[in-house]
């Protein structure tokens, strides 16, 4: 009986279940009746979900007629439908042109885009993931108006990111990165672009003031991917390909090299350097081919799993990035995992935790220029008759008379690598005791350990010039433990239906502790891998170690109010206390306010709604700070130096820097005016903004007055000077769809004008980059400062006329074919007073153009970025065109350089002595138009839906940096640098063209 009962019970339950289940079918289309493949159909409250096929069709089993189906797809408005009695549910999804409903992160909160009152630009992770890059900001280039990004080549290189230009001269210009609410400093190399859900750029102070003393360079808020309720989804995203390293210059072969140098020598009155140049024909050493690989691999891969229920969602990803250098050794590898769990215990209580372990390893030679510069006659290895069999493996290489160290040997010796281990944990608790009041506390802890190892073997390539008589080994370990804790309470309420208000208050604490220890030794018994330890060193052991820490405590608040979604007002206030500042100015306040008027919501605009979907005017003001200070600002330091006193070398100490108890942080105030618009159902939309930033209390390092008693070389940081910048940001978007063909374009336009308003004293001149840049009041900072090269002396008459009014030659050592420097002040002398502004490293404007097309299963993305109106210093011409050095020259230089009237008005005659200082005088000869247009990315993709057991399968082929238009003749027009030394192009590792294959799978 018992068994019968059990059997009956099972049968009843089964039948009940069978009777309750309903299969619902249908088709999902857009408003143009075009089927949409890949739409996620999800049964709410369960983990059941399916995707539509290529024809937009789906079939899903729901537990009951009470079930609700949710249809979601990127770019469309999500719809939820109750099944009821229906077994066929056809859906028409609306285009998500109402981007105003998207959520924007604003710092300690999120708001709908339409409610934003300040200058914030958002980029979806999907847009960033179209490129395979080590640093995600590379992919951000050209996608955000007002953000200027200068790419950097090389594995692990960090691009220069300027948000609305510069607001400081002596401090860092990097923005603050905040990941999932946690400030993470000024570098974002640790993050894979596959981990990112969205990126929000806080451009003006009214937006970023909530980050107070670190926000003067702007703030970039990053939200990582989180799980969504529904069935477990697996994703595999992978792109792999190769980076192309093209030899930047066509260099002379051995015979041509000999001819070039012979010309330089004979032009200077010497006998030929390499007589009988023809003997070198066919004997060119292919240095480049011996050490530089044309192709180097790059791979970006992620596997992820996400899903969950209404109570718990999760997202786990494992990300791998590997970029080889173009040498046979070296590169950058990064492995990260992100494990995110969110819990909703009750309607009022939720929590989450994210773990982010990371491993990185990097190291690469940097002598690639030597492969270009070394003479083409010297062989790579010593001839057999110069070897006696006792040399070690690093001593068999030949020495070049060009004084360029054998680059193949240098790469062979290279052993300089860093490993980094890191674990970041981030957790929060959130409680809603009453409706509208959310109390949230969030903490994070990061443990990091970075270990740098270097070994320099002993070798003797040339006993006088190229050797290391003893090997050495060093290791440095740096450990950091950082924690943050932030708690906020937010209360939101709608009064009388039209008054919407929200108030947030909170407190944040951050603490950063680091320490390092360094060991060094020489005389390791041999150079074998197993002996490369400090403990194996037999001589000159040395060690050091130190620790440092900083902390910041802040109180934050924000009030937001809007009336009837027409009139908005936001005010925020942050009070920062930093350990970096002395007692007199330990605390500072950072207020901000902004307002907006949604004109399109006004009644008088009712007749225009078919044309004007959105028209909003915004205005904001705020104050932010820059506390990225060197330690010498707030520390007094004793310097050490050796001096000869009474014939004896004495180890001396002296006060090198003195803390300034009155030091304050640099303060930036800005005002921002913006106009957001959306036309014709937001087919055309955009934002036009104007801003003006003023920096006060700028930090400069100054010498003490003589009466202070301090030595002249002792310095102190002081708050003096100010600068002002203004500019226009424009974002213009267009998107449309014709049948199966959809297309869109985003245009970003950025201008920045910056001027120094005042310096510490009237008429003060701040020189930078070896006196090659100048910063003065009323001018932009760091402009190129040098002589004006006024062409070449084409004939003796031109040379003879370059005199003062009494016939005294202004360039007494010049000969025909040399550079004519301009007597700018007309005093008949060529001296320091004739130096003037010869170029600007700052672009007049930057333009980004992002195009996307889709036709049926094909999609195409093209991104362009340009910098217009900036100049660059091409420092390489000193190596390539100058006959004074023995390094290799560009092919055919003997014919390119001036060798008779009219043969050149740019490259001066070849000269061994360069008595006219054609190349040693910094002049406009070096300055070139640095404008460029670069196709950052071109990607063609093909997607399949619900095939082969996958929800989605996409393959893509892409090319990055394939095409660049520029007049700049240097290695790469993307040249960064500090404020006072920006735009000096040299042998910088170029941004490389890259060809990639991609595969994206979801199931």
């Amino acid at each position: 009986m018992k068994y019968k009962f059990i059997g009956l019970l099972i049968a009843v339950l089964c039948s009940a279940a069978t009777f309750a289940q309903i299969t619902v079918k249908g088709t999902v289309k857009d408003k143009a009746a075009v089927p949409i493949p890949g739409v996620n159909v999800f049964v709410k409250g369960t983990q059941t979900s399916v995707s539509t096929d290529f024809d937009g069709k789906y079939a899903i089993v729901v537990p009951s007629k009470e079930a609700q189906l949710e249809f979601s797809f990127m770019g469309f408005v999500t719809q939820t439908i109750k099944v009821d009695q229906k077994t066929v549910v056809d859906i028409v999804l609306s285009d998500n042109n109402q981007t105003l409903d998207e959520v924007v992160v604003v710092g300690y909160a999120t708001v709908k885009k339409k409610d934003v009152t300040s200058s914030i630009a958002s980029v979806k992770g999907k847009e960033l993931q179209t490129m395979t890059v080590g640093n995600v900001t590379e992919s951000l280039q050209g996608k955000v108006a007002g953000v200027q990004i200068t790419g950097a080549g090389g594995p692990g290189a960090q691009p220069r990111v300027l948000i609305r230009g510069i607001s400081t001269v002596n401090l860092s210009t990097d923005p603050l990165y905040v990941v999932d609410g946690i400030p993470m400093g000024t570098s974002i190399n640790f993050l894979s672009n596959n981990e990112i859900e969205s990126m929000d750029v806080l451009k003006d102070a009214s937006a970023s003031a909530i980050y107070g003393s670190r926000a003067s360079n702007g703030v970039i808020l990053i939200t990582t991917k989180k799980g969504k309720a529904g069935k477990t989804k697996f994703t595999v995203d992978m792109s792999t390909g190769y980076q192309i390293m093209n030899k930047p210059y066509d260099m002379a072969n051995a015979e041509n090299y000999a001819n070039i140098l012979n010309t330089a020598y004979t032009n200077s009155g010497y006998s030929e350097y390499l007589p009988n140049a023809a003997q070198y024909r066919g004997k060119t050493t292919d240095w480049w081919g011996a050490g530089i690989n044309r192709n180097s691999s790059v791979t970006n891969a992620s596997i992820g799993v996400s899903g969950g229920s209404e109570k718990n969602t999760y997202a786990i990803s494992l990300n791998y990035y590997d970029s080889d250098s173009f040498y046979d050794i070296g590169g950058w590898k990064r492995v990260t995992a992100r494990i995110a769990n969110d819990f909703k215990f009750t309607d009022k209580f939720s929590a989450g935790i994210t773990l982010n372990p990371r491993y990185e390893t990097w190291g690469s030679p940097s002598n690639w220029a030597d492969f270009v510069k070394i003479d083409p006659i010297t062989p790579i290895y010593k001839p057999a008759d110069q070897l006696n069999g006792t040399e070690n493996e690093y001593s068999i290489y030949a020495r070049s008379p060009s004084y360029v160290w054998n680059p193949v040997a240098a790469v062979k010796r290279y052993d300089d690598y860093t490993n980094l281990y890191n674990l970041n944990s981030n957790a929060y608790l959130q409680y809603e005791p009453i409706k509208g009041l959310i109390v949230r506390t969030q903490g994070s802890v990061e443990f990091g350990n970075k270990i740098w190892n270097k070994f320099s073997p002993d070798f003797v390539i040339d006993a006088a010039h190229e050797k290391a008589e003893i090997n050495s080994v060093e290791r440095k370990a740096t450990t950091n433990v950082d924690w943050t804790w932030q708690s906020t309470a937010t209360y939101s309420k709608t009064f009388a239906e039209k008054h919407n208000a929200s108030f947030m208050a909170g407190v944040t604490m951050e603490n950063y502790d680091s320490s390092d220890v360094w060991g060094y030794g020489e005389g390791v018994p041999n150079n074998s891998e197993s002996m490369r330890e400090v403990s194996a060193a037999t001589k000159n052991r040395n060690s050091s170690g130190t620790s440092w820490s900083s902390s910041i405590l802040s109180y934050i608040s924000r009030l937001s109010y809007n009336f009837d979604s027409k009139y908005y007002l936001t005010a925020s206030f942050r009070r920062d206390g930093s350990s970096k500042f002395m007692a007199n100015n330990k605390w500072a306040n950072f207020p901000a306010a902004s307002a907006s008027w949604r004109i399109s919501n006004e009644d008088f605009m009712a007749n225009t709604t078919s044309t004007i979907n959105n028209l909003t005017f915004r205005a904001g003001w705020g104050r932010v700070g820059n506390q990225n200070l060197p330690a010498s600002v707030y520390q007094s330091n004793i310097g050490q130096g050796y001096y000869v006193i009474d014939g004896n070398v004495v180890d001396t100490s002296y006060p090198s820097t003195m803390a300034n108890k009155d030091i304050r942080w640099e303060i930036v105030e800005d005002v921002n005016f913006g106009l957001d618009f959306g036309l014709w159902k937001n087919k055309i939309s955009g934002t036009l903004e104007y801003y003006q930033k003023t920096t006060k209390d700028m930090l400069f390092v100054k010498q003490f007055p003589t009466y202070s008693g301090f030595p002249s070389y002792a310095t102190i940081w002081t708050n003096v000077g100010s600068m002002r910048s203004n500019g226009i940001d424009l974002l213009l978007s267009y998107k449309d769809k014709k049948g199966d063909f959809s297309y869109g374009a985003d245009l970003t336009f950025t201008t920045v004008n910056v001027k120094m308003v005042s310096l510490s004293t009237d008429g003060e001149k701040l020189y930078g980059s070896s006196n090659r840049t100048l910063t003065v009041q009323g001018e932009e900072p760091g402009y190129f400062y040098g002589y004006v090269a006024d062409g070449l002396f084409q004939n003796q008459t031109e040379l003879n006329s370059h005199t003062d009014e009494h016939g005294t030659k202004m360039q007494p050592y010049a000969q025909v074919g040399d550079v004519r420097f301009k007597d700018v002040n007309g005093d008949g002398k060529l001296d320091d007073k004739d130096r003037t502004k010869i170029g600007s490293p700052w672009a007049d404007y930057n333009v980004g153009l992002n195009l996307n097309f889709a036709y049926k299963n094909f999609d195409l993305v093209a991104n362009f970025y340009s910098s217009i109106g900036n100049d660059l210093v091409n420092q390489n011409i000193s190596d390539l065109y100058n006959g004074a050095s023995l390094t290799n020259k560009v092919s055919g230089l003997d014919q390119m350089a001036w060798h008779g009237e009219g043969t050149s008005n740019y490259i001066p005659r070849l000269s061994k002595d360069d008595n006219n200082e054609n190349f040693t005088k910094f002049s406009s000869l070096y300055v070139e138009d640095g404008s460029f247009v670069r196709m950052k990315n071109l990607q063609l993709g093909y997607s399949l839906y619900n095939k082969f057991g996958f929800d989605k399968l996409r393959i893509s082929l892409s090319g990055q940096n394939l095409w660049t238009w520029t007049k700049y003749s240097g290695v790469d027009p993307e040249v960064g640098g500090g404020v006072l030394g920006s735009g000096f192009g040299g042998w910088n590792y170029p941004v490389q063209p890259t060809i990639l294959m991609g595969l994206n799978v979801a199931f």
């Binding site: 320099s456 006088a464 010039h465 050797k467 290391a468 008589e469 050495s472 060094y520 020489e522 050796y642 000869v644 009474d646 014939g647 070398v649 203004n726 226009i728 201008t751 004008n753 004939n795 003796q796 008459t797 040379l799 003879n800 006329s801 005199t803 009014e805 009494h806 016939g807 005294t808 007049d844």
Partner: protein, 465 residues
């Protein structure tokens, strides 16, 4: 001003001013400018500057002057400021005739003076290249510069020199106020060569004299040559030099150290420290630095020390360091070989500059002037490896190298950050710091020189290679 505003204004004003014929200020008509040249015929010569002098004037204002000699590639325009207007200008323009022109050539210098009203006038000046600008050459036979006259031997001063000049000699004059000499020889017929030979008598008291010899030629623009000869008339030798060069050697071609100045002096007892770099080294003692005459101390046939330019050399039998004492009055000398005990600096020579600090090695280099690649920065001395001295493998007390001198030189041999350092003071003395202050300047013909720094002798020898 933002860029759009600027472009708008640029366009606006471009349109506004379209049709203007001349943006320059208009000046009323005026008289032609005037020019007064200092001479209508200028003498020049290849590889020599000549001066164009003229006074320019205009009643309203000068605009520019153009100077042209097409054959010599001269086309110079001097523009004058117009605010305020310049009504007169003294032109003084120098131009060097190219070295490859012939002395028989002649050219016309064309001056074009233009005033602000547009009036222009031309003025031609003849230029001849057969000018003679060389001062008469005075070749001194005796006494030589720095000559020492030992009054105990003779109080006679023979003065013997030859004067040469292509354009002919007008007169020769010998003056020495202290000796009451003022003798002018007016020559007739403008001979191209003249020999002066006369002996004067000196007072018996020791003194220093300056003999001034002047010669003037007969060129249209006369040239004057002057030579000052410093003499020392003494009862004792102020200095004695050790010379290890064969007789007849030009002792003025070195930059530093030849012949070698004494080390110690007590009365007329002079002591030298000397390094003989070979066996059987031959040496003399000289009473003057620049020549073997008049006082050259060597051995006579009996092996005794004599003051005779025909004497034989003293021979140091073996290689090594010697202490040598000599008294030129008593004609006694001693030679003693010794083994140095001073610090050997071989460990700091052969230095190496390297970007990696750990791989740098000490060095001895030079900081100074007149030396190619050198300046007074020790950092430069460090990184300019061509200035580094190497050990003499045959003598650990000597650091050797090669420098290219570009003219008068001065310097301090230095290690890293002046430690150690040897300051090169007068008479080739290079004492290790701390020592005497000041660096002496040594005239030197440009060229490549051998350098020896002897840290035992504390002397430098810089001789033409």
């Amino acid at each position: 001003m933002n860029k759009l505003s600027f472009l708008f204004l640029l366009t606006f004003f471009s349109i506004l001013f379209t049709g203007c014929q001349n943006d320059e200020a208009d000046f009323p008509s005026s008289d032609n400018p005037t020019v007064v040249v200092s001479t209508n015929e200028i003498y020049g010569a290849p590889n020599r500057k000549f001066e164009i002098k003229a006074t320019l004037a205009d009643d309203l204002g000068l605009k520019n002057v153009r100077i042209q000699i097409p054959e010599l590639n001269l086309d110079k325009v001097i523009n004058f400021a117009t605010d305020p207007l310049l009504t007169s200008y003294n032109l003084s323009y120098f131009f060097e005739v190219p070295a490859n022109r012939g002395t028989s050539e002649a050219f016309v210098i064309k001056l074009t003076i233009t005033d602000v009203s547009g009036n222009a006038i031309d003025q031609n000046i003849n230029l001849r290249l057969d000018g003679e600008f060389s001062a008469p050459a005075i070749s001194m036979i005796t006494p030589k510069e720095g000559a020492v006259i030992l009054l105990s031997s003779s109080n006679k001063l023979p003065v013997n020199f030859i004067v040469n000049d292509d354009s002919g000699i007008d007169y020769v004059q010998v003056k020495c106020a202290a000796l009451g000499i003022d003798e002018m020889v007016q020559l007739t017929g403008a001979p191209q060569s003249y020999t002066f030979n006369k002996t004067y008598t000196l007072p018996v008291t020791a003194a220093e004299y300056v003999l001034t010899i002047t010669a003037k030629d007969k060129f249209a623009i006369p040239n004057l040559g002057t030579l000052n000869i410093n003499l020392v008339a003494t009862n004792e030798y102020p200095a004695i030099y050790l010379c290890d060069q064969p007789k007849g050697t030009n002792l003025t071609t070195d930059a530093v150290g030849v012949p070698m100045y004494f080390h110690e002096k007590v009365g007329q007892d002079f002591e030298f420290k000397y390094y003989a770099d070979t066996d059987n080294k031959q040496i003399y003692f000289l009473g003057q630095e620049a020549d073997f005459a008049p006082h050259c101390f060597g051995l006579n046939a009996s092996g005794n020390l004599v003051d005779d330019v025909t004497s034989s050399a003293i021979v140091l039998p073996t290689k090594g360091y010697y202490k040598i004492k000599v008294n030129p009055s008593t004609l006694v000398y001693t030679v003693t070989k010794y083994t140095p005990t001073s610090k050997v600096w071989a460990d700091v020579a052969n230095g190496l500059w390297h970007d990696n600090e750990a791989l740098r090695r000490p060095f001895v280099s030079i900081a100074g002037g007149g030396i190619q690649g050198a300046n007074w920065d020790t950092w430069n001395a460090w990184v300019q490896t061509s200035l580094h001295l190497a050990n003499n493998p045959n003598n650990p007390y000597q650091l050797v190298g090669e420098y290219t001198l570009t003219g008068t030189m001065e310097g301090t041999f230095t290690g890293q950050w002046w430690s150690p350092s040897w300051r090169l003071i007068k008479n080739g003395i290079a004492t290790m710091s701390p020592g005497e202050n000041g660096n002496a300047k040594y005239p030197a013909a440009p060229g490549v020189y051998k350098v020896i720094l002897d840290t035992e002798l504390e002397r430098a020898f810089i001789t033409k290679k």
